[in-house]
Symmetry: C2
Subunit: 200 residues, 2 copies
DNA sequence: TGATGGAACGGAACGGTTTCGTACCGTTCT
DNA sequence: AGAACGGTACGAAACCGTTCCGTTCCATCA
């Protein structure tokens, strides 16, 4: 290795090539492959072909497959601010039906593609839960806390149990029962399961 | 292929070697590997090594990996009759905490190992849902129908929504949140989510 | 302005490993 | 004896990580 300085340290852009746009294309291609075949069957060759990049480029930029996939996941977190419709019911339906919610096909495909991997790889699971699940859970928690402040939720309700119920029910219907989540199903689950659990 | 009859049809074993016990050992080994590494990374070599069988034997008996895995799943449905404690609450807790329930580690590992595969392979998904999920769902349905006959469930409750809620919540907590399902969690979910949904 | 050097790129190939499905053994049980 | 078994080995294919090559783009400088 040449003893070249690793970086200038300043903000002067010395590396104009794979700076932003091209890198994002590669990450998008990674997510597409991930959603299509799953983590275990995702190969660097497939990603390179889909992104029209060479494997050499991938390995110049990323250490390997886990690092590439994780960075692709983190770069994907599009801003989805929590809705504020004034009622818990409206917030839940808006949140889970909208962009990034349970009706987003690629979002759901990514979920399904990763469950097996995180069941086996503890390190992968930790990053996934912290950086992918965490923000979503925090947003949903916000909805419930606002509802509690408005008095919509009984005092003795254990939010730790109730909050994850909605995504759990919907994911189960999708993957185990094979039912595409529709707005109608989400509404029925909210009305018949979630709301009765918080207001008795 | 020779036009041989697929099987005798009777229970007379024409194949004395790999007939019953040995075959079950291979299927058990298949399930163990499946639970350990998942469907995509399960290989015939791993199964052969784990079962101390030769790959030739596997290919003599099964056509390939999908057939072997599916048959292993079907042969695994140990008889788990629905409990009858007299109350819906007792039945649910007994059913989901007991053998074959959500606290069975291998059962859960198999679930996680298959979700990615059934998200991609429609044929595999159909067999899995019909022969693996189906019996479990039917058993749970039986619990709810008995409870409804006893008057424990309001008339306007949509069982299609409520019944899959409990497994959904528990699976989500296990795989997405990384929480081992304990009897205590199952009880709290039943008391705080399921029962309020059926009796308002 | 025009030429030059360097860095990053795409494409291709490499060796080493893994998997699959099959074939060939010697052994064991009926 | 004969059939089925376990073990081994094989070729084909896929994958991984690396390393070539030739090209393209950019910054620098005459």
């Amino acid at each position: 290795m040449s003893p070249q300085a690793k970086e200038t340290g300043t903000d002067s852009p010395q590396r104009p090539r794979v700076e932003g746009e091209r890198e994002q294309e590669i990450l998008d291609a990674t997510l597409a492959i991930l959603a299509e075949v799953g983590y275990d069957l995702l190969t660097m060759d497939k990603v390179a072909a889909a992104a029209r990049a060479s494997k050499a480029t991938l390995y110049r930029r990323w250490k390997g497959k886990p690092e590439l996939v994780i960075e692709a996941l983190l770069a994907h977190k599009g801003e989805h601010p929590a809705p504020d419709t004034g009622t818990l019911r409206g917030d839940l339906i808006a949140s889970f039906c909208g962009a990034g919610g349970m009706t987003d096909p690629q979002q759901m495909a990514i979920m399904g593609s990763l469950i097996t991997a995180i069941s086996r790889d503890a390190d992968f699971a930790e990053v996934f839960r912290r950086d992918f699940i965490g923000p979503k859970a925090a947003r949903t928690l916000q909805l419930f806390e606002r509802a509690r402040d408005r008095g919509e939720i009984d005092e003795d309700v254990d939010l730790e149990i109730v909050i994850p119920a909605l995504p759990g029910i919907l994911l189960h219907r999708q993957f185990l029962l094979g039912e595409e989540p529709t707005d109608d199903v989400i509404t029925r689950v909210v009305d018949q399961v979630i709301l009765p659990a918080v207001t008795r």
